[in-house]
Amino acid sequence: MKDDALVAVVRRMAAGDVSALDTLYRQLERPLFGFIHSKLNDPFAAADILHEVFLEVWRGAAGFQDRSRVRTWVYAIAWRKVVDEFRARGRVTIQDEMPDRPDEGPSAFELLQTAEERDMLRDCLGGLKADHRAAIELTFLEDMSYREVAEVIGVPEGTVKTRVFHAKALLLRCLEAKMNRRVRA
């Protein structure tokens, strides 16, 4: 469903149309759950947060501004709740500091064909800081622009571009290291 159609859905929600909430839920529930779950690695907590996100969307529909895309607005609510959850768990890894820029190259992908190798990628993703992971997942899984990612995460656009760059480079480095260990083993 295109964003114009989603805007119309949100307008219906603002008018109290519960069936519109159903429509929005069915459009966004799966990718949004995946986004939340990938940050928390806890399906129960992710389901609770998903629930809270849609409740907040329902309550806030009347205040939705056309300045944002619907998807960006909803993901931004989800991200804020994920950050709150991190804080509640004492897992505050939301930092702006960046590692040194590592070299990058495509060589790590040459062997990435099997399920085992996809597991490696998941391990590497799990090793990223939450803010880096959110940035690259919104970019590559949700295909958001850096402007949209910036709106979701609540940081400047330049920060998003830098985080995605570093996340990509760190993933490549991690994958290469895992590949090398496997070859030596």
């Binding site: 529930e29 409740l55 495509p106 993933l171």
Partner: protein, 197 residues
């Protein structure tokens, strides 16, 4: 039109967004010129494209809450919608309590009809109106409206949020007309006013 070439860092930062197709036309055109200028940049594009594909392929098919989550959401929304009605009911109770004090009525309980209460003295209610109260209406204002017009709640709120009101004590036609007029003029508090037969 000429444009300032991007530096390498800027190109590297934009490549992921080139790959996901989210750059503006102007940004994409500028980046395309950079790729023509330096074919070695294609390796960066290829790396980003492969990483994107791998991430999409590696995303676990998580079992999302699905219909169960939707059912839970509907329940929560319905509960929140009922909450104002519950508050209205407490306001109604307050209004009745006030009416009891002022008019010498004895409330014997809530029911689905006029039998839910009886007067300790005097006749049964003289007239009945059906009203629905706006969500944003102050509870005290609703209670004041009833008291000022000799009205009391004899039933409600129903599942749809309707209250049935009666005039306290024996009432002349003029009293009924006055009460109806007062209710109809309280449109800031009431969404609907009907005279029940």
């Amino acid at each position: 039109m000429t444009s300032t070439p991007f530096d390498k860092a800027k190109i590297a930062e934009l490549v992921p967004f080139w790959v996901n197709g989210s750059l503006t036309d102007a940004e994409a055109e500028a980046l395309a010129r950079e790729f023509e200028r330096d074919p070695a940049l294609h390796a960066q594009v290829q790396a980003a494209r492969q990483l994107r594909e791998l991430m999409r392929a590696s995303a676990l098919p998580e079992r999302s809450p699905g219909d169960f989550g939707l059912a839970r959401l509907r329940r929560s929304v319905a509960e929140k919608a009922r909450a104002p009605a519950a508050l209205r009911q407490s306001a109604a109770a307050a209004a009745i309590a006030a009416a009891v004090t002022a008019g010498g009525f004895t409330l014997v309980g809530w029911g689905s009809s006029d039998e839910g209460y009886r007067q300790a003295a005097g006749p049964q209610p003289a007239a009945i109106f059906t009203v629905s109260v706006r969500d944003a209406a102050p509870h005290a204002a609703f209670a004041d409206l009833l008291l000022a017009n000799g009205l009391t709640i004899i039933d409600g709120p129903s599942a749809l949020g309707f209250y049935r009101l009666a005039l306290v004590g024996a009432a002349a036609d003029s009293d009924i007309d006055a009460a109806r007029s007062a209710l109809e003029h309280a449109s800031e508090l009431l969404e609907l006013v009907e005279t029940a037969e």
